[in-house]
Amino acid sequence: MKREKLTKINDLTWEIPENYKNCMTVPGRMYLSTDLVDIVEEDTYEQVANVACLPGIVKYSLAMPEAHLGYGFPIGGVAGIDIENGVISPGGVGFDINCGVKTLKTNLELSDVKGGVEELINRLFSNIPSGVGSESKLKLSYNDLDYLLENGLDWALENGYANEEDVIYCEEEGRMDSANADKVSKKAKQRGLSQVGTLGSGNHFLEVQYVDEVLDEEAAENFGLEKNQVVVMIHTGSRGFGHQVCTDYVKKLEKATKKYNIDIPDKQLACAPFDSKEGQDYFSAMACAANYAWVNRQVITSWVRDIFKDYYGNDTELNTLYDVAHNMAKKETHNVDGEKKDLIVHRKGATRAFGPNHSDIPRDYQETGQPVMIPGNMGAPSYILKGTDFAMENTFGSTCHGAGRKMSRSQAKREYWGETVQKELSKQGIYVKATHGAVIAEESPGAYKNPNKVVNVAHNVGISKKVVKLKPLGVAKG
C-alpha cells in the first residue's frame, strides 16, 4: 500500500480507510510522526490493512509508533478481537511469545559503579548463558517443566528463584491460568528443556543503566526511581520453547482456517474462532510459553542478584520495578462504543500500558498507571513510561515496545565493524560484551530507529507518558 493512500488524522495519527480492501471491517489506525511514516515499509501498511480483515476485530487495526514489517501482523500491531464471535491468531503474537522486559531497581548510584562496569558486565556475561546454542545451568525433568509451564512464577517462588515482590510486580503475576502443558508438543518441550535461564541472541540483552533524567517527579517517586540510580534491564523471551509453540500452531491453525471457512488475505494470519477447540488449544499452549518467558527472566534475575551481591556486597538490593510482555494475546475487557466488551487483545511487538485504577495492575501503581519499559539500543537511551487513560480509550491499553530496526542485519554488517562500534561506545562510557563482533555490528545503534523519536510519538499522542530516561553503562549481548 502506498503512503499516499493514508489519511492524515493529525500530525501523529494516520488512518487506512475501511474501504481500502474489501475484506476490511474496521479502519487501520497508526500512531506515527511524519518522518516515521516515511521510514515505515509500505508492506507494513498492507499488513495493518490485512489485520483489519480478521473476523471479530473491533474499532481499529492498530499500529504503534515503532511499526515495521512482521509476518501476518506488523511488529507494533495491536488488535482487540471479540471473544464471542472473533478469532485468535498466532500471527498476532509472534514466534517469541512473551518476549518482554524486566527492570530491576538497585540501591546503587552511578558513582558506586563507575570504574567497575567492565568487570561487572564480564561477570554477568560469563555467568548468564547467552548466545545461540547456549544451555542453561538448570537441569529440569519433563515433569518439572510441565509444572513450570502451568504455574509460571509460582514455580520460581517455590524453587528459590523469586520472592513475593517479584510475583506481585509482574504482568499477570507471572502466571496465565489458561496454561495447559498437554496442549504443547513434545518438540516444544525438547527445545525448552535446556533453555530456562538463557538470554538468547539477536536483540536480546542484559543492560546495566542509570537514571539520567527524571521527567515526571511524582510517577518516578511512585515507581521508586531517582536520578543517578542504577537499574538493570533484562530483555528476553520464551526462547526455543515459544518459537516451537508458534511454529506448531501456525500449522494447526492454518488447517482450522480452512475448516471454519475463514477468509484471510495472508497465510501467516492463520487463525481459529477463539471459542473453538483449535483456538482454545493455542491459547492454552501460548499461555505455557508466556509462563516460560516470565520464569526465564526471573531465573536470570536471580543470577543477576547473586552476581551483584558478590561484587558489591551482600547489602546490595535489586528489586523488581515491573515485568512486561511484548508478544501476547490476552483476555481483557475494554470499552467499545460505550459498551464493555470481552476481547482477546493481540499485542505483537507492543506493550500493555494500562492506565490508573485498573484492577490488573499492582496496588502500589494504582494512582500512576502501570510502568512501561521501552528499551533503546546499545548506544541510545531507554525509557520508563506510565500507562494512561488515553491508551485505555484508544489502543486497548497499549503502547510501543522499542524502536525497531531500520537496517537489515547484512546491511548493518556491511556498514559497521563490531570492534569499531565497541570502541565508539566505549568512548561514550558504554561497555559492550557479546559472543563475537558480528553481533555488535548487527546490533549497532545505527541499525535501529532513533528510540527518542519513537518514544516521543507515544508520549505526545498520550498512549503512555515518559517518567524517566535511562542511559546505558554496560551491555551483555547474546
Binding site: 515499509e41 515495521h68 514489517l69 512482521g70 509476518y71 501476518g72 511488529i75 509472534g94 514466534f95 517469541d96 548466545g131 545461540v132 546454542g133 518438540k187 525438547q190 527445545r191 528443556l193 538468547g200 541472541s201 539477536g202 526455543g240 518459537h243 516451537q244 508458534c246 511454529t247 501456525v250 500449522k251 492454518e254 495472508d266 497465510k267 501467516q268 492463520a270 525497531g404 530496526r405 531500520k406 537496517m407 537489515s408 542485519r409 547484512s410 546491511q411 559472543t435 563475537h436 558480528a438 553481533v439 548487527e442 547474546g478
Partner: protein, 140 residues
Amino acid sequence: MEKFKFLEHTADAQFIAYGQTLNQAFENVGLATFEVMMDTDLIEDIEKTEIQVVGDEIDALVYDWLSELIFLFSAENMVFNKFNVEIIEKEKRFQLDAVVWGEKIDMEKHQIHTEVKAPTYHGLSVKKNDFYEIKVLLDT
C-alpha cells in the same frame, strides 16, 4: 547455477534457493538456512540424520522441512551442510525423505552468529520456470 541468494530484509533473513530439480531446490533451502546461522564451510559432515515430512501442499512441505531442521538445531544442537532430499507425490500428498549430514555445534569452531527462530509462511513461494525457485523468510 548459484545455490541460493540472500535478499535484503529489515528485521529478518530472506533468501531464494534454486534447483534444477525440486529435490535440489529443497536441499539448497536447507543449506541457505544454516548459512544464515553460520559459515557452513566450517561444518564437517560426520553425523547422519534422517528426516521425513509429509504435506498437502508444496509450501507446507517447505515449512515442515525447515521446522524439522530448526528443531534439530535448537533441541539437539545439530548443524548441517550436506542434504539429500527426495520428494514423491502420492495420493495428492507430498512426502519428503531426506538424509542430512553435519555435526554437533562447537561454539569455538562454528562461531554461530544469527539465531533462526522459525520458518514463516510470509512471502513463501515455490516457482518453476527454467528451474525451481523457493523463496523463504526466516524469523531471526
